[in-house]
Amino acid sequence: MPINYYIFLAVVIFCIGVIGVLTRRNAIIIFMCIELMLNAVNLLLVAFSKMHYLESVERHVVASTVGTEAQLFVFFIMVVAAAEVSVGLAIIVMMYRNTHSVDVNFLNRLKH
């Protein structure tokens, strides 16, 4: 499958994520949209890694490890995202306890 498809898909997912973050006020949805963006990037990383690997195979590079680094990155991002989710959800829980709402516009007291 051509790499273009992956790129288009990743861009679409990323844009959905951006738009979601920008337009929605529900903290949980914003959170999910951030995850969307992260995963769009993950998708791109895996796709490019696969592409580089196939190219090196075609050029008969024996025992090629080309592209594996990108996949390692993906794992890192997943782990970090998991940690971030736990922190983020904790913040949202605290926010709900304080304001009885998950609307981010209630949080404008941050500026004080």
Binding site: V21, N105, L107, N108, R109, H112
Partner: protein, 632 residues
């Protein structure tokens, strides 16, 4: 012995340090002993050196102490030069200086011990600086002494610093000197640039090959320095104000140190001036103008010290006239005789002021002759000497300068003689008003009139003897051949100038006529002044009118300087302060601050607390960065 020349300035320096550092703990007797003994020690060493220099075939000795500045090829040693000129000046400075120290010990006795010690410390430093000035073997050491005497004159003129007028006088002296010093410094740099050295021996050996215009430039710059230090037009106004200091200080400034520095410097670099006839012309004219101007002012002054101060300016003018017409020996001769009689006159004036309880106005004196005979007779000798009456010292030195002036240009002689007549007039006016006639002061003052103690009259007597007999060192050729001891003594110093331009003197017959005519005129004027003022009473003291008023106000030179230089400078400073500084610079600096404050107040509005807005801005930022990265 001349190898030990460094001892001469060292003693006063030690005295300065002891008196300066120990001023809080030393009793007055110790202070005066330290102050005077150090100068006496210098004097003794100077006499020994002088004896050696006097010997036939003496070659100038340079004593190198250490390297003062050593950069690349430039080497300025801290070295002293002993030759006929510096040996003679050493004697004058330490000799007259010592007498003034003795005198001061008694005169300043009313001061509190710390101030008394401060006074002697300054006095010693003054002598030290002057010795450095005349001993230095290059222009830089000369300049150190040059600045040193400027500083000390400032300190001593403003000695009674609680009086604001005195502080102004001190400041005026310092600033006037600084103006001259700047030109002097530029002259030294030019010498350095031109000859690659500032040592006298090297510079004077090479001057003959340099272009006349360069020589004229350098000598003019050095001369401007001399006009500041030696009180010539246009920088002379500080000297009459310098009498704000204690009277012995005036004697020191006017006689032994400070004002003779300019004469010394030009006499020292005589070869450069001989090579620059244009500068010599300027010097002669300025000297003559100063002599006449100051003499006319002195006629109408009523302050005993002011009369003497203007007479100093006038006599210095004669010395410069002598330098200008190539009579270097005559100028140095006049420095010497002037040191004697001017120190005598100032110390005598101090004795009078002391007896009068601080009164300086000669209109309120009179008849002092029966109260203070020693002061009176010594003062009389001083008057006769400065007026130039045979056989007192002033006659010989002034005559020598004037006869050279005649040989140079008879006009210079006539104007110079006119100045000499003025001198005779104001000196005898001063003498008659002070010592003759009836007493015009208060009864209280009359009750306190007394002859001064021996520490004051002693120096007066010594100086009177010197002022009376000092002239016989320079008996002119037409009176007795080969009797001019001083000329023979100094001839090695001026030899190279003499080779270039032989000094000319008029034929003996002309000299006799000139001398007798001038002597008769001076005697006539003296008698006239005596007759005019002997019957002076307080009733005669009336407001001066017309020309006399102009003279009394010193030709309004101070006012002129004030209007032409000081006021515009003040206005410029005010403009710079009020407009450029307040509006321009302050506006700029405050404007930057205000702009930052205003900008941050506007930017602060972006922090709305709306998370959505932040994120939007972040996305916009990222997009902008991407666009910049890709398309720009």
């Amino acid at each position: 012995m001349s190898q030990l020349v460094y001892l001469v300035p060292l003693f006063p320096l030690i005295g300065f340090l002891i008196n300066g550092l120990g001023r809080k703990v030393m009793p007055k007797s110790l202070t005066s002993i330290v102050g005077s003994a150090t100068i006496l020690a210098s004097f003794v060493v100077s006499v020994l050196i002088f004896n050696e220099v006097r010997a036939v075939g003496f070659m100038p000795v340079t004593v190198r102490l250490f390297d003062f500045i050593h950069i690349g090829t430039l080497n300025i040693p801290f070295a002293f030069q002993v030759d006929q000129l510096s040996a003679l000046f050493l004697l004058i400075i330490t000799g007259v200086g010592f007498l003034i120290h003795i005198y001061s010990a008694s005169y300043m006795n009313e001061e509190a011990p710390p101030h008394y010690a401060r006074y002697f410390a300054y006095l010693n430093l003054f002598v030290f600086s002057m010795l450095l000035l005349v001993l230095g073997s290059n222009f830089v050491i000369l300049f150190i002494g040059w600045e040193g005497v400027g500083l000390c004159s400032y300190l001593l003129i403003g000695f009674w610093f609680t009086n604001n007028d005195y502080n102004y006088a001190a400041r005026k002296a310092f600033i006037m000197n600084r103006i001259g010093d700047l030109a002097f410094l530029i002259g030294i740099f030019w010498i350095l640039f031109q000859f690659g050295s500032v040592n006298y021996s090297e510079v004077f050996a090479h001057v003959q090959g340099s272009s006349p215009s360069v020589m004229t430039g350098i000598t003019l710059l050095l001369f401007i320095g001399a006009t500041g230090k030696s009180a010539q037009i246009p920088l002379y106004t500080w000297l009459p104000d310098a009498m704000a200091g204690p009277t012995p200080v005036s004697a020191l400034i006017h006689a032994a140190t400070m004002v003779t520095a300019g004469i010394y410097m030009i006499a020292r670099s005589n070869i450069m001036y001989t090579l620059a006839p244009a500068t010599q012309g300027v010097i002669a004219v300025i000297g003559l103008c100063t002599a006449i101007l100051a003499a006319t002012i002195a006629i109408q002054q009523n302050d005993i010290k002011k009369v003497l101060a203007y007479s100093t300016v006038s006599q210095l003018g004669y010395m410069f006239l002598g330098l200008g017409v190539g009579a270097y020996t005559g100028a140095v001769f006049h420095v010497m005789t002037h040191a004697f009689f001017k120190a005598l006159l100032f110390l005598g004036a101090g004795s009078v002021i002391h007896a009068m309880g601080g009164e300086q106005d000669i209109r309120k004196m009179g008849g002092l002759k029966k109260f203070m005979p020693v002061t009176r007779w010594t003062f009389f000798i001083g008057c006769v000497a400065i007026a130039g009456i045979f056989p007192f010292s002033g006659f010989f030195s002034k005559d020598e300068i004037l006869s050279h002036a005649y040989a140079h240009n008879p006009v210079l002689y006539v104007v110079g003689l006119l100045g000499a007549l003025f001198t005779a007039f104001y000196m005898f006016r001063l003498y008659t008003l002070t010592f003759l006639g009836g007493f015009r002061g208060t009864h209280d003052q009359e009750h306190h009139l007394h002859e001064s103690p021996a520490a004051i009259t002693g120096p007066l007597i010594v100086l009177a003897i010197l002022a009376a007999l000092g002239g016989f060192l320079g008996i002119p050729e037409y009176i007795a051949p080969n009797a001019h001891v001083l000329e023979k003594f100094l001839s090695p110093v001026f030899a190279s100038s003499e080779l270039l331009v032989a000094s000319v003197s008029p034929p003996p017959a002309t000299e006799w006529v000139l001398t007798i005519v001038s002597l008769l005129l001076i005697l006539g004027v003296s008698v006239w002044a005596w007759r005019k003022f002997r019957g002076y009473s307080s009733a005669d003291a009336k407001e001066a009118t017309g020309f006399a008023k102009i003279l009394e106000n010193k030709w309004y030179v101070d006012e002129l300087y004030d209007a032409v230089i000081v006021k515009p400078l003040n206005a410029l400073a005010g403009f710079l302060n009020n407009v450029v500084e307040r509006l321009g610079l302050d506006g700029l600096v405050n404007g930057v601050g205000k702009a930052v404050q205003y900008g941050s107040r506007q930017i602060r509005l972006l922090q709305s607390g709306q998370v959505g807005a932040y994120i939007l801005l972040m996305v916009i930022g990222v997009v902008v960065l991407i666009i910049v990265q890709i398309f720009l």
